[in-house]
Amino acid sequence: MKYRVIPTLLTDGENIVKGEKFDNWRTIGNAEAISQVFGKRDVDELLLLDVTARLRKVPISVKLMSFFSNNLNVPFSVGGGINSLLDAKNCFRAGAEKVVLGTAAFQNQNLISEIADVFGTQAVVASLDFKEVQSDVLMTNSGKIKSVEVLEEIVQSLEKKGVGEFLVQSCEKDGTMSGMDINKIEKVRKLTKLPIIASGGAGSMEDLLHAINSGASAVAAGALFQFTEITPRQVGSFLSSQGISVRNR
């Protein structure tokens, strides 16, 4: 399987936002305009997460997703506030390829099987939001609430329920561009054979290469693509030059 480079876009339900350490969200642009920009960039895949949906008790907005399905010619995954099979169906109907379950994956694991039965396991991504580099503590509710789940057990049970992919995020590293939590990527890689998307803290192309060499199947970055000149396509060429098999464009 080819390694993927995935730009992450966060939204507050209206605009595209960016924060640091899962907090301090500030608007960086209009969602429709940004969907057009990424449509032109011909990325491998895109990740759109609503970071306030869970707190606002609504699923990610269909209108927002439609901007992306209208403008992208590539697959995209969506997450934020998805609580039911109907919520998931609305995402697929709006053109998303995969749904990302964070809080729901921890609190209602049957939802994973319900979605996977209808749309396939590849359509369900479980998000593992690590609190910090120092521990294996996992967070839910957009990084606001500590989970009591043990990493080894939850990975195993999520896989059994029909998750097709893991998103490994770091709350501490998010938005800092200070390097990724490599130890967590290695740890999750040892626990599962499923594809892993590594996310949080990428500040350079070398950081992304490091994540892939540590077991990631795909690398996601937000700030790197928003605040530097580096594009996903450049990352692809760089990875390819380092002997990593990426999409042929």
Partner: protein
């Protein structure tokens, strides 16, 4: 020209309609296929997602299957995408009791788990093209986006137009027989390479 997109009720047609609208000019139109519509399309698109039986049941519910077979037999070009390609065959291991459209002789099998590759097979892969008359984008070496657990095994070698790697194994990713084309990947989700193929499909159907 008129392009007609078949709605199986489970897939999102927006991205398919958007991508096939791009190469059209002002005299062309694109619509959702309707069995009772008297206008004959120049190009039929059969996209698909989900189980083989669910797809066939959706086609049978309005006798769309007979209408489609009739149009194809009278020369209308047909493109099956993903499950839509599999529905062109005679049957599938996914739903052994449900016959397919039978437009391409052959059947569908599940991808082998023995390759150590995740099934459903999801991601970007290229096509090793054995023969293609109209679709140079397929032999460009560029990758297309796949999401599937089953694949078509055509009975006749001459229907095979593209092969794709799966671990150390291979599966048939493109079939072509006269006015029928089947692709296992999603051109509408395959970025620039997909856009190029869609333009070639539209040019082929003109």
């Amino acid at each position: 020209m008129l392009i007609s997109v078949i709605d199986l009720g489970i897939n999102n047609l927006t991205s398919v309609i958007n991508s096939f609208s791009k190469p059209l000019n002002s005299n062309d139109s694109i619509e959702v296929f309707n069995s009772s519509n008297s206008n004959s399309p120049d190009l039929l698109i059969l996209p698909g997602l989900g189980k083989f039986s669910a797809g066939m049941e959706a086609l049978q519910s309005n006798n769309m299957n007979y209408k489609i077979i009739g149009l194809v037999n009278s020369g209308t070009k047909l493109v099956g995408i993903c499950l839509g390609m599999q529905l062109l065959s005679e049957r599938s291991a996914e739903s052994p009791n449900t016959p397919g459209l039978g437009l391409i002789e052959g059947h569908c099998e599940k991808l082998p788990l023995s390759q150590g590759e995740p099934v459903p097979h999801t991601g970007w892969e290229s096509i090793e093209v054995s023969s293609t008359d109209h679709f140079s984008s397929l032999s460009s070496g560029r990758d297309f986006y796949f999401v599937h657990s089953y694949h078509l095994v055509p009975k006749n070698k001459e229907d095979i137009s593209g092969i794709t790697r799966f671990g150390n194994d291979r599966f048939i990713s493109v079939v072509q027989k006269n006015n029928i084309l089947g692709v296992q990947f999603h051109p509408e989700k395959s970025g620039e390479a997909g856009i190029d193929l869609v333009s070639e499909i539209v040019a082929w159907a003109r």
